[in-house]
């Protein structure tokens, strides 16, 4: 078996690749369930299908997809430009910290402006945390992959200190939590289960899809990724692209953090995200690095979280399986993407 370069990239394969990857992931999941001693068909049903059959779990799905889509859309744009932001989890955390500052510092301030201010602070926090690796890369040539990841740990430790120290709820029985947010410190719910964050995520991804497909900025980013030399000749500044991509993806991750603490979590606590910032990396690739594709990929990754909880309660399979399935999925997506540019041929070369 060997790979042979196709004459031109296969658009059909580019579309089929994520589905092929999904099929392979489901097969792998079945094998894991089998090893664990479960009926694989029943376990697959509980993991992938059952959550889609009840209204409340579909609402859960949308709520979990919101941060994944928001972060994934930003990362998709950054990765397009070959800007490797892998510290979205940290940018999410800093966004949550700055957004949470409003209700913690001004607990009595209750107006629609409170909520808007929280969201803006969230974006600001993520942008700052994203601008640091960009600036270090632009000024000192420091690798943004490593610096953005290191800042994840720093942000998480900062949050940990805040909720155990200065921002701890004085009436909270010494639990490491801030005060619980109320009224205008929380996002309004559209139905019993879906909050406004779902709509924000959807609109953000669509807007970003438009920017990438129809505007000069989107073109600039695409060129920067495909051919840095061509981008330079066209007068597009590489440094500006790096800063823009890091602040855009950071800002969206920060917004996701603000949305999480003003909805599902409802306060600041040491852990505010089950690794959305890292799962969003998978979302970006699964969504073909296209903000609109990311919407579907985000829903699928959200399903992987909910399915993991479902098999844990129904079949006592550890919910750790979620992260295995997510990791396996990314592997298959990357492997299947090879088929866009290459075909598999048998035997010797011609």
């Amino acid at each position: 078996m060997r790979l042979e370069k196709r004459a031109e990239r296969s658009d059909a394969m580019a579309l089929a690749s994520p589905f092929l990857a999904l099929v392979l992931t489901v097969i792998t999941a079945a094998i894991i369930f089998l090893i664990h001693g479960d009926n694989p068909f029943h376990a697959l049903y509980v993991y992938f299908i059952e959550p889609l059959t009840a209204l409340w779990s579909v609402e859960q799905l949308l709520v979990k997809a919101a941060p994944l889509v928001l972060i994934g859309a930003g990362l998709a744009v950054a990765y397009r430009a070959n800007v490797w932001n892998i510290g979205a989890e940290g940018q999410l955390t800093l966004g949550a910290i700055l957004a949470g500052m409003i209700p913690v510092m001004f607990p009595g301030w209750q107006s629609p402006l409170t909520l808007i201010m929280m969201m803006l602070m969230g974006i600001l926090g993520g942008m700052i945390w994203g601008a640091i690796p960009a600036t270090l890369r632009n000024r000192f040539n420091a690798n943004e992959i490593l610096t953005s990841l290191m800042l994840v740990y720093v942000a998480q430790l900062l949050l940990d200190w805040l909720v155990r120290g200065p921002w701890r709820d004085p009436q909270g029985f010494n639990f490491p939590k801030s005060i619980t947010f109320t009224d205008w410190q929380l996002l309004p719910y559209l139905t019993s289960g879906i909050h406004l964050g779902v709509v924000i995520a959807l609109l953000a991804a669509l807007a970003l899809g438009f920017v990438m497909a129809r505007t000069v900025k989107g073109f600039e980013i695409t060129v920067a990724g495909l051919s840095p030399r061509a981008a330079r000749f066209s007068g597009f500044s590489e440094k500006r692209t790096i800063l823009f991509c890091m602040m855009l993806s950071g800002g969206l991750a920060g917004l996701a953090g603000a949305i999480e603490i003003s909805s599902v979590v409802g306060q600041l606590q040491p852990q505010i995200s089950p690794g959305y910032g890292f799962a969003a990396i998978i979302v970006a690739f699964l969504g073909r690095l296209n903000p609109v594709g990311v919407i579907f990929a985000g829903l699928l990754l959200a399903l992987s979280y909910i399915g993991g909880e479902a098999v844990q309660t129904a079949l006592q399979i550890p919910d750790k399986i979620t992260r295995v399935i997510q990791g396996v999925l990314l592997f298959y997506v990357l492997a299947c993407d090879t088929l866009i540019l290459y075909r598999i041929t048998s035997g010797k070369s011609a």
Binding site: L3, K5, Y79, W84, I86, L136, R139, F140, N141, A142, N143, I145, L146, T147, L149, M150, L151, Y153, V154, L157, L158, D160, W161, R164, G165, F278, I281, I282, F285, P318, K320, I321, T322, R323, V324, I325, Q326, G327, V328, L330, F331, L334, A335, D337, T338, Y342, S349
Partner: protein
């Protein structure tokens, strides 16, 4: 025991896993392959090492299991990035995400179980001298032997190495596997020596710090040794300062190794001449033989 007497030993145990993992990654990167999956290989080494030792009662079986786990993970990376020509950055990230998830799943049964400790002589375990020997061997092989010349040639210009008749993909597979073995061993060191137990995510970013070490040691083994000991010292000093209760919040001290890594990257990477001289020219680029 007196803190001043034990401190050097504690620093050595903190530095050794960083040193081992970084040495392996340096060899892989010298051959032109950027494997960002060190954290994933390391954490799999940690769980396999703990499991091997726990199930057999023999810590050496654990060490062997850790190495095997690291190599298997690296082969997965190699198959995708070298055979299927996937993007190395993305594949490395995938390896880390998969390793963290898989180790958590496999390790469920080991949480809270008593660990098996590798025997020590005067507080020094056998892997500490081994890590020094490995540093010397890697340095010697890379810069004083034909093997090393081939590895560096493949990493600097895969097209030229290929034209000379060297099997680029094969060399890279072997270097990636060496990196996997070292990362696995480093993980096993954590769960058999540093803190003999299994805790989810117990590598806590050490794989990433090792990756950064390789960069700011400019791919030179002796500098990796120095860097690993510098970071071992920083992380242990932050522990000691926490124990002394100087009134500095523990979270700030815990963040020192991460902030230190950023600082070191900034200082070294800013020196463009040094970085350019040592960076493998084909680093991260897939190789497609054009027959």
């Amino acid at each position: 025991m007196d803190l001043l007497l034990t401190l050097p030993i504690i620093i050595m145990t903190a530095a050794t896993p960083l040193l081992l993992a970084a040495l392996g990654e340096a060899v892989a990167e010298r051959s032109g392959v950027l494997n960002l999956g060190v954290e994933g290989m390391m954490v799999m080494g940690a769980v396999a090492g703990f499991g091997g030792a726990f199930l057999t009662g023999n810590p050496w079986v654990g060490i062997l299991a850790a190495i095997v786990a690291g190599v298997l993970m690296s082969l997965l990376f190699g198959f995708l990035s070298l055979t299927l020509l996937t993007n190395q950055v993305a594949t490395g990230l995938a390896l880390t995400l998969l390793g963290l998830g898989l180790s958590a799943l496999v390790g469920e049964a080991f949480v809270g179980q008593p660990g098996v400790r590798l025997p020590t002589v005067g507080g020094i375990d056998p892997l500490i001298p081994f890590s020094f020997i490995l540093t010397t061997v890697v340095g010697y092989v890379l810069f004083r032997t034909k093997t090393g010349l081939i590895i560096r040639a493949v990493g600097n210009s895969h097209a030229a190495a290929h034209a000379l008749g060297y099997r680029v993909i094969m060399v890279r597979y072997l270097c990636v596997m060496f990196g996997g073995a070292c990362a696995g061993l480093a993980g096993g060191y954590l769960s058999l020596v540093y803190t003999p137990q299994w805790v989810e995510n117990m590598t806590a970013g050490r794989g990433w710090i090792a990756l950064a070490l390789v960069v700011f040691a400019s791919w030179l083994p002796l500098r990796i040794l120095a860097g690993a000991y510098l970071f071992g010292t920083i992380s242990i000093l932050s522990f000691v300062m926490q124990a002394q209760g100087l009134g500095i919040p523990s979270q700030f001290l815990s963040s020192l190794p991460y902030l230190g890594t950023i600082l070191a990257l900034v200082v070294i990477s800013g020196n463009k001449a040094l970085t350019r001289r040592n960076t493998p020219a084909s680093l991260g680029q897939p190789f497609v033989p054009d027959r």
